[in-house]
Symmetry: D2
């Protein structure tokens, strides 16, 4: 009832302008990096639309750069642009770079157990074009959410996991995803993936943990939050690594709770934070905003 | 990947203990109100589980009380309890009271136009048992969301509204809802309901407005927020009254935005706040936590 | 430049109405507690102004009650009221109760090392009448802040502490405070008080820790927050116990930080949260809002 | 009691590295701006440490750039650098630019009436080296805060203002400040400065308004917030313009309040938000992070 004025539903995709490219650089800091990169882009007819940089220290620190540029005819020009950057600029910088067309969506597999809030939120945001992703597969160790996933037209694979079958299950998962995904998101997947899986899956894995890490790492964070009597509970999205809940943190947030909140209340309140934090982390990752710096991240 | 431990999905309903009753009182403040009420409940075998009260001033102020009590055999005892309170306590208090079994869910009709975020969030939460509501009807002036609603097994009525047909449309809505609902929620319904409708519908109407009221009341709040250059945007849930966006506020929240956020970004970020604020307002209303005090509310 | 209208500075004290008493009860839950307490107050001519209660479970749970009441002539009536409550009500409740006049300020000693932000904030608030406290003594293991404290007319005791002199120093502190204070506040006091001190000081001790506990308990929390790459930093006010940073939490809050924030930035941003959290904790404690429940607190 | 480890008080000044310069550009967007600017700095031996940019649209939009660079011997090199930029780069950009040494502190005059919280907070932050400012003058229309200001060694001018004397008072203020300040901060100054004063003072004026603008512009915002029953109250720092409370917003924040909060409680809770918001706005302004874009600001 807020107004007679009505606006149409947002069209089927995020506002990705055509001919927008992204360049991400991570190297040792030194003089003239920005000058070199921007001169290169300018010579090639690209106009910088947005640029962020960060250095851990001017002398010998680690340097990170993320640049969005507009270049008419980007798609056709990209291979040559990549080659030219590799030849003309990269050697002087050292480090690594990544140059890509900003328009393609990221192909994502979602892993889930039985809680539906993160899964539904990501599927829904993808459908309404809020996230630059296409969900190509859902994997679950439980059958519960099959119908919900089917309603979004996404394949659902039920792969049960027991202690005895874990190796086989992970192999099935790897076979299922091979070559099909750019990112795996653990949307409240209550199984610990092995270091072997993480090494072989070949794409980043983002996990949502239902606590404000490093507090309450591991099992039962809401129960332990209740016992400790904290006044805020939180959620943490991080890259999964072999060390459980120790990977580089992408995003965190918290919500205030009182002594009246039992574990069920914490679980409910926390669910809202979990889905919000995970959605932000996935968006930032897919927009190439998250650069890993050792155990931490730079988020542009 | 947070833990090997796995908990089942919450069962189909919020944690409503049986035999819990609720008593809400609004009257002029004066000595002994709590004593009278609690003595009455104690005499009748009820044990107070939770009690909140608020007075705008000890002498002649307005007094508000919300009490949850446990009474074995509540359902059968309720009619007599109500009669006894009306006879023995209410006359001394003046004002109004409301005594009910806490367990029945609130029957809700959702009104929506084309934005789906508030609608889906409430349907998800209702299905998950997070809100003590059952959605019995969705009404929309557009057909767009029919399939989404059907997936939840909820009837969807498409009732178009034009300037010329508004009176007829509202009559159809009133006919459709008559006797079937305890609450109407405007979940981004972009039509202004008439004062006549509000008077005749006979149940409270909660609206979500996409600004931090009283800032940006009326149409186009995100556009106007952008123009004014505010650093936070918000959402407000309030009871709908004949004065557009002037009804008693139940809940508000905000999110930080930067100069980089265009109207589309504000709309997307705001959507998350809108659905969170609306869900809280609906829950609190259905738990009898919201007492109207003139143009404002007391929220216990 | 916000308005031509000008309001005088708030008068020298918080808005404590005269003749307001407070009753705090902690006992095992059972039927009729509120009825008994409110009937007692009503019989004695007291009108309940505000009442909060909380139970960890209706059958055998722990029950907590905080009631503010208005009783003309409270001060004179208090001794007899206390005796009557002890005779007529307390035996049936079991547990503990505390009945007092709400108007006297709490006598506070502040312990501080070299960081001034928490100390000054509390002194400012006390002077402005924002906190119901009177600061009667500042104790520091460094001389740095003596002049700042003197400007408020508060005695400053410089009591250095080394490993060798710690026992003597604590004895001097105990002698200095004996009978003069109702509360000790560690306002960034960087010495660990011994269990012996805590046992003998005879009043509650509130500490501010510069992290979101249980994350980063112990030394160097900002350094460790930086290393772990958390996206929010926090502060925690808690009752000091023999187990460092393990006492019942009274209040916590956080602030968002980015990868750009070095340890100095975290320290600066954190200081604002520390002083805000500590001020709230002190206020709530002095208003009898904080009830300890094992390792946690109930905050009414 | 958080740790035995003790760190010394921060030294007397913010972490301003020597030889750091700042370049701020505002112009119409077009290709190659970043390339031109960064190539110029590189040629001159400057290394970009931090750079932020924003464009309202790639074709004909407004473009904003803020760059921090390291240049050995900056102070001596600055005049020539400025001239060279004006000759070699600025003509191609159009618009305006500003090039300066980052190390000098901003000379600030604080205007205040009787509320002390914003004044004390800024004086204290300046003293502890948290803000890159030196407060050179306090002006007040009341004598109340003279002793507090004296304790910081800052001159205090009591200049009463009445309707009849306003013109004379403003003239005295202009005479007092002429050539001595780079910024005026209205730290809860309850007089409306005339357009004539704002035009003639010749430096930016930052005001703190005690509401979340545009809600509750003008007088009595806390009273009106109470009447409207909002669930959050806020504060807004903005550049003062002739249109009261309509100037470009620099920073805003809010805090949650409940129905229990009377006007005195709102005033107290709001004071904490006011001082925090104002301190951030002053810091960002003095670090050249705030660029005015019509009625709004870009904050890097």
């Amino acid at each position: 009832m807020t107004a007679a004025l009505e606006r149409p539903r947002p069209a089927g995709g995020p506002a990705v302008a055509r001919d927008i490219g992204r360049l991400v650089v991570a190297c040792t800091d030194g003089p003239g990096i920005v000058a070199r990169v921007s001169a290169f882009l300018h010579r090639r007819g690209a106009n910088i639309v947005q640029s962020d940089q960060f250095s851990t220290g001017p002398v010998g620190g680690r340097f990170f750069l993320r640049t969005e540029f507009h270049l008419p005819g980007l798609r056709a020009a990209l291979p040559e642009l990549d080659r030219a950057f590799a030849d003309e600029v990269a050697p002087a910088l050292g480090g690594t770079f990544h140059l890509r067309d900003a328009s393609p969506t990221t192909r994502v597999a979602l892993f889930v157990s039985r809680y539906d809030h993160c899964l539904l939120d990501l599927l829904w945001r993808a459908r309404r074009g809020e996230l630059p992703i296409s969900v190509v597969q859902v994997v679950s160790n439980h059958p519960d959410l099959e119908a919900d996933v089917a309603a979004f037209g996404v394949p659902f694979a039920h792969i049960p996991v027991t202690r005895a079958t874990k190796g086989d299950a992970e192999q099935r998962e790897l076979d299922l995803l091979a070559g099909r995904v750019d990112l795996v998101v653990l949307a409240r997947y209550m199984q610990v993936l092995s270091g072997d899986f993480l090494a072989r899956v070949g794409v980043p894995v983002i996990n949502i943990h239902h606590s404000f890490l490093p507090a309450f790492a591991g099992a039962g964070p809401y129960e332990r939050a209740r016992q400790r009597g904290v006044k805020l509970i939180g959620a943490t999205a991080h890259y999964a690594t072999e060390d459980l809940d120790e990977g580089p943190i992408i995003e965190q947030d918290v919500v205030r709770v009182s002594h009246r909140a039992g574990v069920a209340d914490l679980t409910r309140a926390g669910a809202d934070i979990e889905r919000a934090v995970l959605a932000r982390a996935v968006r930032w990752h897919c927009e190439d905003r998250v650069l890993v710096d050792g155990r931490t991240t730079v988020v542009f």
